[in-house]
Symmetry: D2
Amino acid sequence: MTMRFAVLGAGRIGRVHAKAIASTDGAVLVAVADPIAAAAESLAAAHACAIRTIDEIEAAGDVDAVVICTPTDTHADLIERFARAGKAIFCEKPVDLDVTRVKNCLKVVQETGATLMVGFNRRFDPHFAALKGAIDAGKIGKVEMVTITSRDPSPPPYEYISRSGGIFRDMTIHDFDVARWLLGEEVETVMASASVLVDAEIGKRGDYDSVNIILRTASGRQAIITNTRRAVYGYDQRIEVLGSDGLVAAENLREANIEIANASGYHKPPLMDFFMTRYTAAYAAEIAAFIKAVGEKSVPPTTGDDGLKALALAEAALKSVAEGRAVSLSEVTG
Amino acid sequence: MTMRFAVLGAGRIGRVHAKAIASTDGAVLVAVADPIAAAAESLAAAHACAIRTIDEIEAAGDVDAVVICTPTDTHADLIERFARAGKAIFCEKPVDLDVTRVKNCLKVVQETGATLMVGFNRRFDPHFAALKGAIDAGKIGKVEMVTITSRDPSPPPYEYISRSGGIFRDMTIHDFDVARWLLGEEVETVMASASVLVDAEIGKRGDYDSVNIILRTASGRQAIITNTRRAVYGYDQRIEVLGSDGLVAAENLREANIEIANASGYHKPPLMDFFMTRYTAAYAAEIAAFIKAVGEKSVPPTTGDDGLKALALAEAALKSVAEGRAVSLSEVTG
Amino acid sequence: MTMRFAVLGAGRIGRVHAKAIASTDGAVLVAVADPIAAAAESLAAAHACAIRTIDEIEAAGDVDAVVICTPTDTHADLIERFARAGKAIFCEKPVDLDVTRVKNCLKVVQETGATLMVGFNRRFDPHFAALKGAIDAGKIGKVEMVTITSRDPSPPPYEYISRSGGIFRDMTIHDFDVARWLLGEEVETVMASASVLVDAEIGKRGDYDSVNIILRTASGRQAIITNTRRAVYGYDQRIEVLGSDGLVAAENLREANIEIANASGYHKPPLMDFFMTRYTAAYAAEIAAFIKAVGEKSVPPTTGDDGLKALALAEAALKSVAEGRAVSLSEVTG
Amino acid sequence: MTMRFAVLGAGRIGRVHAKAIASTDGAVLVAVADPIAAAAESLAAAHACAIRTIDEIEAAGDVDAVVICTPTDTHADLIERFARAGKAIFCEKPVDLDVTRVKNCLKVVQETGATLMVGFNRRFDPHFAALKGAIDAGKIGKVEMVTITSRDPSPPPYEYISRSGGIFRDMTIHDFDVARWLLGEEVETVMASASVLVDAEIGKRGDYDSVNIILRTASGRQAIITNTRRAVYGYDQRIEVLGSDGLVAAENLREANIEIANASGYHKPPLMDFFMTRYTAAYAAEIAAFIKAVGEKSVPPTTGDDGLKALALAEAALKSVAEGRAVSLSEVTG
C-alpha cells in the first residue's frame, strides 16, 4: 500500500523531504502547502502534486501522513492538529523551543494515538548507522566515551540566530540526540563552556558560536561534543566511540575521492559543503524509516520523547554556561 | 522536451539503465523488450512501462531512443536497425567482438546520421571525472604515466568466459578506454603479459585471469593496466596519473566510511562489492550525458569510434601475448 | 664544548635519557646514580660511565648538568641541592605534587640563577612541533579550539596509582602543558568530569581512569582534553587545533606503515605501544634543547614555571570534579 | 666480540654507512680511505677513526670487514683483493656493470670462502620488511602480482647518467631485487618499455627517464615496476603485493605526520625527499644484518648472486626495449 504524503512548508528542508518522498518506493507526494505562493508552486511543479492550504490537507481523505517543515513556532500546534486529524506526522526538530510546550504537545499525541516521528536525520546517515551497528554487534565492547565533532562551515544569518533558540537548541541538539543514541544510557549531568570567537555580532544577539559540552551518565560514561559555527574547510561531521574493547570512528565525506600530489605536498578537496549534500542519504533513509514505522504500526526510531530529551539537554547546557557548574538533567525536566 | 526511451534486454545491466532513466529529469521509460517474458514483466512492473517486441519498438512513434542491453552478438545488428529507424542509440560495450564487424556497423551509423553512444561508464564516475578535471585544469602539468589498477572481486561464470571474448575484450576494454581518455594521445604500441593464476579452468577455456599491459603513445607517454579476476577484498578500481608537475589519484570506495580499532589494529570495511554498487552514480551520469548529447545534437562523449579503438587495443594485447612482443596498433586496425 | 652529564635514577626513564645523551653530539654521560646497585651497574655498563652517589655527583668537578629521574617526592630537594651546587638541571615532571612546595623550590632556583628545564617531552615530538610550527606560521589563522586525545594502552600498576598524585597530576599534566603551549593564552577556568570505567580498583584507590576536561582562556579560546587509562588499540596520541582559517591535526604513529586487505576488509597494525617507542625522537630532541639552552645561557623551552602551571591545572581539575563546577585557576594558585 | 670496520670511499653513501656502523652495537669504525684527502679527513673526524690507504687496510690486522663505497668500476677489483685478504666484505650495488665481470668476481669470492654482502638496502627497510613478513606469515595466501612504484624526486646530474649504466642498471636494479625477493620465484621473462619524457638531454646521453617493466616467473606470477626520474612531490616508494587471499601494501613516508585543512581542502606535507632520509633505518638494519651474518658465519641476506641476478634483469630489460619483445633471462645470463 502506498503512503500518501503532504509536505507543509516548501522551504529548503521541505524540498529535501519532498525529493526523498518522491524517490522512495511506497510513498507518493499528494500535496504541498506554503503561505508563500511561489515556493508552493515551485515545489508542486517539481513533483507534479497539488497545492493546498493546511486546512484542506487536514480535511483531506487522500492524505495519510504530513511532513512538517514550517517555522519552529508552528510545529507544536500543527502536530496537535494533525494528530487529532488522524494523520501520521513527521516533524522536523524541534517540536518547540519550550520544554513545557513540548510536553503538552506530546500529551496530545499520546492521547490521540498518533504516530509522531521527530527528524533527527543523523541517526539515518549510513556511515553513522554502520558505526552504531558496530557498537551493537559488540565490536568495541562496553561503550565508555563518545566524541562528537560537529562544525558548520559558516554561521547562519543573524536573523536566523535571533529566532533559533541559540546554538545549543538549534545546532548542538543534533549532537545531543546522537550522543544519547550512542551512549546507551540516559545523561544525568551536563557541563558546558561557550564562547564568541567567530563573530562578535553573534554575541550581541545573546548567542555563542564556539561551544564544548561534556555529558555524563549514571554509570560514568561520558560524551564530549565540540561545536563551532565556522570551519573554513567544510562541514565537519565526525564521531568516535571508545569502548572497553576498541574504538569505532566515522570519518568526514567529500564529493570527489581524489588526491593531488605536487611540490607543495598532498592535497584532497574540501569536505562536502553542508547538510543538504552531506546528509542526502540520511534524509531519504529517515523518510523510509517513517514509512516503515507507520506501515508496521511500530514506534518510529526517533520519537517526540527523543525530541524532548535533546531539548532538555540544550536547556541544561545553557544553564551550565550561565552558572558555571554541572547541571543535572532533573533540574530542567522538572 | 522529455526523451522517451525503450530498453532492449531486461537483464542486470538493463535494469541499471532503466533505473537511471527513471531517476533522470527529462527522460521517461516507455517500453522494455526481452525474449524472457518474466524478465520483461518484472522490469516493466518496476517502472510502470509497456512490454513490447523489438519490432514494435523499431516501429513506435513514441520512442526517441533505445538502450541496447542485449547479448553482445546482437549489438551490431540492433545498432544498424535502430540507426535506420531514426532512433538515438545507447549501446552497452562492445559493439561487437570482431573489429571488421564493428567497422561495418559504424559505417551504417555514419550513413544514417544516427547518434550512437557506447557505454563506457567509468568516464562518468564522479571521482574519475574529478581526476580528469584536475588534469584538464593543468594541476599535474603534462601527462606522462597512467596507472590503472582494476580487479574484479571474483571470476565470472565459466559460461560467461566462454563467450565474452576473453579478459582483454570483456574486462580490460574498460581500462583501455580509460587509458585512452587520460593519456590524451592515441596509443601506438601494446605489450601484454597474461597468466592463469586464479583458476586453471579459465585457462582450459582459452582465457587468462591475471594480466598486465603497457600502452605507449607516439610521444612516449605510457599507461600500465593491471587486471585480475579475483581480489578477495572487493572491487578494486584505482587510477593514478603522473604528470610533469604532480600526481593525481582516485582511491577506492566503500559503503561505510568507518574504522574500527582494536587490539589487533585498525580495520576498515571491504570495498564496494562490484560494479552495480560502485558505479551507480556513473550509470546515471552516463545516461544523462546521452540525453544531453541527443538533445543538443552534439557528439556523445563516448562514441562508436571509442568502442572500436578500445577493441583494437584488446586485439593488440592478445597478439602481444601470443607472440611475446610489442604490437603496433596499426597491425590490428589494418 | 662538551656538556658532561650525570643521570640520577637508573629506572625506565633514566635509561631513556641516558641513551638520548649518548646519541647527542656535544653531550657525554659521566656518571649515574641509583640506590639499587644492579640498576646503576646495568646503566653504567651500557654507556661505559661511572657509578657515583648523589653526594659525589653534587661535589664533582667533572659534571656540568644532572638529569633527575628519581621518584617524584625527591625532585624538589634534588633540584634545590643541584641548583646550589651550580649544576644545570633537567628534571622529569613534576617538580612536586604540591603547588606550594613547587613554588618554594622554584624560588631557590631563581635565587641561585640555575638553569632548570622540566621534562615535557611532547613539545619536542617532531610531529607536534610541526603542528605548532604550522600554527606559528599562520596556516590556520587565530587559534580557537584545541582538541587533545591522549589515551594510554593500559593502566599502570595499582602501586603507581597510589603514589602518582592521580590521573590529572600524572597523565593529564602532559596534556595540560600541550594545551597551554598551543592555546597561546593562559587558561583561566577549568571544568572537568571524571569516572571510573576501566577498573573499579582504581576508584578504590581514590583515582579516576576516564576523564574529560575543558580549559578556557580569557578571550574564550577553549581546549578539550580526553584521557583514558585503557585504549586496547595502543597509545593514542592525537592533537587537533581549529583556527579562524583552518585546522591542523597530528595523527597517530605506527611501527610498520603497511596495510593488509582481505575478505574481511582493510587492516593496519596497532599503534606504537607506549611512550618509550612513541616519543623516542622527542626525548632526544628534548635533551638537545636542554644542551642548547645551557650552552647559550638562554631560558629552556620548558621551565619550572611551566611545571607549576601544569600542576595548577591538575589541581583545578581535581577541584572541579569534586565540586561539580568551573574552577578559576586563581583559586588554586593563590 | 666487536667487528672492526674500514669504510672505503668517503662520499655520500660512505658517510651513511659510517654512521650506521657507529650507531650499531658490536661494530666499530677503525679506518676510512679516500683518495680525496678532505673527504677522508671529514669522515675520520666525525667518527674519531684513522685515515689509511686501501693498501694499509688490506694489510691491517685490526680490520675485520670492509664497506666498499668507491666508484662502481672499482668494486669488482676491491672485492677480489679483500676476499683474498680474508676480510668480510659489504659492497654497495652493483658489483660491476658487466655480467661477465661480475661472474668472474663472484668466482674469486667463492674460492676464497669470503663473506660478501651486496647492498640492497630496501629489503631492510622496516616497512618493506613488515610487508615481506606478512607475506611469509601467509596473510595474503599465494603471491600472484607484485606492483612496485619507484620514482626519484629529480634526475641525477648528466655526468652521473653517463657513467651509471643507465636507468635500468642504476635505479631499477633496486626494484628488480625487491621484485625477486617478493615474487618468491625466479623471473623467466622481461618486457620493458622506456621513454624520454622528463628531459631530452637524458635521451641524448642514451638513457631513458620513464620506464615500465613486466617480469614474469615460470608459474605465471608477474611483477610490474614503474620508474621515473622525476616526481615533483617527493621520493615515491611504494609496494603492493596481491595474493590469492588478499593484498599487502607499504605506503610512502613523510617527515611530519600532520594535515592542514583550510578553505582549499586538506593538505599533507610532501614525502621524504630522497633515499638518505627515507632509508636511514634501512641502512642501519642492513649493516646490522651484515655483522650478524659474519658473526654467525651464515650467508648474508643479499649476496653476490642477488647482485648478479638483478643486473641480469637490467640487461634483459635493455634488450627488451631495444628489440620490442619479451626477453628470456636465459638469453642474457648465458
